[in-house]
Amino acid sequence: MILAATGPEIAFWGFAVVAGIAGFFVVGSRNVVHAALYLVGVLGSVGAIYIVLGAEFVGWVQILIYVGAIVVLLLFGIMLTKAPIGGVALDNNQRPVAFIVAATTFGGLTWIIWRTFGGTRIRLSPTRTAQIGNSLFTHFVLPFEAVSVLLLAALVGAIVLARRD
């Protein structure tokens, strides 16, 4: 299978490799804060991959919410729980089993993917933000409002859980 290496494809490969390697460090790092920073690498690369795949808005939302907000929240979680930096083991004793399960999952999924979509080519073309807005506010109004209820529930729940009194 010969890859016609166009610019977007090269970019995809670069970001995919970064995402994969950083992903291994997220689950392999011995330092919680380092794991969170590697997670930034994964999320940023995945955001860039969205942009390469033409999903411009989703890509920037990924950067804005994941890298800008969720990772900050996770870092707050680390700081509030006084997580051990080095020393105490961060992994349990199921590592070999976990590795076997993960490798089997990856192998099985990859096999299925290549059997089904091995020859399918996609033509990259950008989706405009206007298109997203069009679709969101005409076809997906109810899910959109449901999201606000979800966020409200999450906010109230977090306040109830986190408050001392």
């Binding site: 509030l80 999201v147 606000s148 409200l152 906010l155 986190a162 408050r163």
Partner: protein, 123 residues
């Protein structure tokens, strides 16, 4: 293909900027004198000797503020496509009401946080 050209320009600019920083710091490292001492490696704490560890427990109040930020960050994400399409979608009033309902529901959360005195910074 203007989309990929634009992002290509952005990528090239990022690469050049990153290379600039790397080269500057690498040059600095190569040329500077290197005389490590124990005092130089200690944490700078306004000139005093550092007390305790660098790891201190944060108050849980920070977490609630961070989560409030996340919630309204998510809200702002939905504002972008709405703002782009507000003038083009018909009927316009409906689109406006959709967003007002969305923000209104989230405002209830903010009101709840206010009522529960999450927003107050008591010592």
């Amino acid at each position: 293909m203007s989309y990929y050209w634009q992002y290509g320009t952005l990528g090239a600019l990022t690469a050049v900027g990153g290379a600039f920083v790397v080269i500057a710091f690498l040059g600095n490292r190569l040329m500077r004198p290197r005389k490590p001492r124990v005092e130089k490696a200690t944490t700078y704490e306004c000139g005093m000797d550092p007390v305790g560890e660098g790891w201190s427990n944060t108050h849980i109040r920070y977490y609630l503020f961070a989560f409030l930020f996340v919630i309204f960050d998510v809200e702002s994400v939905f504002l972008f496509p709405w703002a782009v399409q507000l003038e083009k979608l018909r009927p316009q009033g409906t689109v406006l009401v959709e967003m007002i309902v969305f923000i209104g529901i989230l405002a209830i959360g903010l009101l709840y946080a206010w009522k529960k005195k999450v927003l107050e910074w008591v010592k």
